[in-house]
Amino acid sequence: MTDEREWIRLAQEGDQTAFSRLVGAYQTPVYNLAYRMLGNRAEAEDATQETFLRAYTNLRSYDLQRPFSSWLLSIASHYCIDRLRRRRITWLSFEDEIAASDETGDTTEIHLKGEFLNPESVVARQEQETQIQHLLAALSPADRAAITLRYWYDYSYEEIARTLNMTVSAVKSRLHRARRDLAQMIEEDS
């Protein structure tokens, strides 16, 4: 953590090497958020790049009292929400999203934390991933962000509210509604 604060301070003074260390430390959390929200790898890479560029440009306005991860994920969430809203305007449906990720051969690389998986487990994991992305794609952009921050980052209601610029009660009602809808979908699918 002390190292991180030092990297941030140096990066704020224009040290690119310090910022590249921050990129190394946070590229996977940002990429995972973007992938969960956008549903395909190519767009997730673009979103990760844009998030870090925005962070780099606005680094001087970053408040050192706030967790850096929270600030970065806030930039990523807002960017992905905007992107999903623009995508809706162009009338790209959920089926198109799935088709697009299929066309690009989008197979998810899962962070395995050193565990060994046999081929059956890999297939099971991929099916699980497909199901998760299918469920997430049915949610509104803000609900997707809230669910992703809750489950993959273990954020509390307060942290999600700060990250997404919402009230705690709005986060709570979004999460509850999203979970009820998703649970209903799981039953219908099965």
Binding site: F19, K113, L175
Partner: protein, 184 residues
């Protein structure tokens, strides 16, 4: 406890926020309500599915791509700043040279404003004569000003392009390589 309250406690329980007393009340309610049993089963299924999902790791080439994009943005920003400074210099120079000419133009065409303010279109002939005067004035100004302005204008443009090229070339040649080498 009604089903709505039970539903709220189920959600809180998934987030680890429900009190022991609430959990006991929920269990009592579930024992006698098949609808809520079914909802609780679905919610647990969903919660287990999402809780067991892994982080998707960033591809290994992404970091280099990100650093290269940042270096490129830096170069573009520096180039834009240089061009803006030089463009402002050129505009200042041009204004300095043009001010007497613009003053002459205004005094030569002041009649047009008077005609328009005094009641609109008085006669077509009046307007045509003013347009003629204006045209001749512009022609004279252009023939007098183009030759002396061409040389400094062209020089400023060449200097701007040269400096821009130099700065862009220098940053391309040095900075990204240093950064990428450090990362690798």
């Amino acid at each position: 406890m009604d089903c709505e309250q039970a539903s709220e406690i189920m959600q809180d329980r998934l987030d680890g926020l429900s009190a022991t007393a609430d959990i006991l009340r929920l269990e009592e309610h579930l024992a006698g309500c098949t609808r809520c049993q079914s909802e609780w089963r679905r919610l647990q299924l969903l919660d287990n599915l999402f809780a067991s999902a892994q982080m998707v790791s960033a591809p290994p080439y992404l970091r280099v791509r990100l650093i290269a994009a940042m270096a490129q943005r830096d170069r573009a920003r520096r180039a834009a700043l240089t061009c803006t400074v030089l463009a402002l210099g050129c505009v200042t120079l041009a204004l300095f040279l043009f001010v007497p000419a613009i003053l002459n133009l205004l005094s030569a065409t002041s009649g047009v404003t008077a005609v328009l303010l005094s009641g609109g279109l008085v006669t077509i002939n009046q307007l045509l004569s003013h347009a003629g005067v204006l045209g001749r004035t512009i022609l004279i100004l252009l023939t007098r000003l183009i030759p002396p302005l061409a040389a400094p204008g062209l020089c400023s443009l060449l200097v701007a392009l040269g400096l821009n090229r130099l700065l862009t070339g220098l940053s391309q040649a040095r900075k990204p390589d240093i950064v990428i080498r450090r990362i690798l």
